[in-house]
């Protein structure tokens, strides 16, 4: 649906010659009784004439043939590489993606494995050290040979409750010197 044109729009379109013949005739009739409308039309006409004269002056000053010849010459000229001053390359950063996730997954797995191994090694029962061996008090017989005599092995309690070895040998076969 076409919105109704305002008087100002109609006047502009009339000035530009864009109205339909019926509308143009209607505007022309309304302008006959409107000195203001006629004044605006004259102002626009003066502006149009002024711009037209200026553009004609500029167009006269410009050598269009020379201008196009220069443009063509610039286009056909060989390309000269422009040397850029060396600048420090910005630090590269890996954009998060599948690859990075895979790397971090590997690192995490490695750390987890290392932690598990560390715990396993620490908890691994090792050989008893000297410090871990409980202190044993007293004395004990490992081996005894009574020879031709007879004897008895006793265990006597010491002052600290420790067991002390006593080897008692009958002295019947060997006489005193």
């Amino acid at each position: 649906m076409e919105s109704p044109k305002t008087e100002d729009q109609k006047l502009q379109m009339f000035f530009d010659g864009e109205l339909a013949p019926q509308e143009e005739a209607a505007v022309r009739r309304s302008l006959e009784g409107s000195p203001e409308g006629m004044a605006r039309l004259r102002e626009w006409e003066q502006l149009r004439e002024a711009m037209k004269s200026v553009s004609e002056d500029w167009a006269g000053e410009i050598n269009s043939d020379a201008l196009f010849a220069r443009i063509e010459a610039e286009i056909s000229a060989p390309v000269v590489p422009i040397e850029q001053p060396e600048r420090e390359q910005p630090a590269l950063r890996v954009v998060p993606g599948k690859r990075e996730r895979r790397v971090w997954g590997g690192v995490a797995t490695g750390f987890a494995a290392a932690a598990a191994i560390f715990l396993a090694v620490m908890a691994w029962p090792g050989e008893p050290t000297v410090d871990s061996v409980p202190v044993v008090r007293g004395s004990e017989v490992l081996e005894v040979d009574f020879g031709s005599n007879t004897g008895t092995i006793f265990e006597v309690e010491g002052g600290a409750g420790e067991s002390l070895a006593v080897v008692w040998i009958d002295d019947e076969e060997v006489g005193l010197p």
Partner: protein, 173 residues
């Protein structure tokens, strides 16, 4: 490919742990051996207590009151005890140390080794020169400062009680 790489990493870490553990155990073992060897090569003081014990009533040497074991069976039959000698000697591993007894016999003591737990393995024998052994062989393990006794020899109406104390000044904690 990623899984294989992870497995390789784990394998390498495990290998490192095993090698680390093995080297640690080896170092510990060698440390023990070294400690044992070093200890066994050192000289150890010892003391031989020669006591004449009798059943007849008498005095018990005050120095023996600390040895409460001499008041317990089979020593409780004796009512008097006298220290005849108390020689001090140094035991060297593999080397015999001789102590003469008043009855003419000799006690031969040999330090065989120092155990990893600090105890001493000692061999003892009592014999008479050019005679058959009274006690051919006795092997004992004793802690520092804790005695072992050899008793039964008749002497002057009484019985000889021989106590051997290895490293007497060092008392086991």
């Amino acid at each position: 490919m990623s899984l294989i790489r992870h497995l390789l990493v784990i394998t390498v870490l495990l290998s490192c742990a095993v090698v680390f553990r093995a080297s640690g155990a080896s170092a510990q073992s060698s440390s023990l051996v070294k400690s044992d060897r070093a200890a066994s090569t050192s000289k150890v003081p010892a003391e031989v207590l020669v006591v004449l014990a009798k059943e007849e009533a008498g005095e018990v040497d005050p120095q023996l009151k600390k040895l409460t074991a001499l008041r317990r069976p089979p020593f409780n039959a004796f009512r008097s005890m006298k220290i005849l000698s108390r020689p001090k000697l140094t035991l060297t591993p593999g080397k015999d140390a001789l102590v003469s007894l008043p009855n003419g016999r000799r006690v031969k003591l040999t330090l065989l080794r120092v155990m990893p737990n600090g105890r001493y393995k000692v061999r003892a024998a009592i014999n008479r020169p050019d005679k058959s052994d009274y006690l051919p062989l006795l092997q004992v393990v004793a802690s520092a400062g804790d005695p072992f006794f050899v008793a039964g020899q008749s002497y002057q109406g009484g019985t000889l009680v021989v106590g051997v104390i290895v490293d007497p000044k060092k008392t086991a904690q």
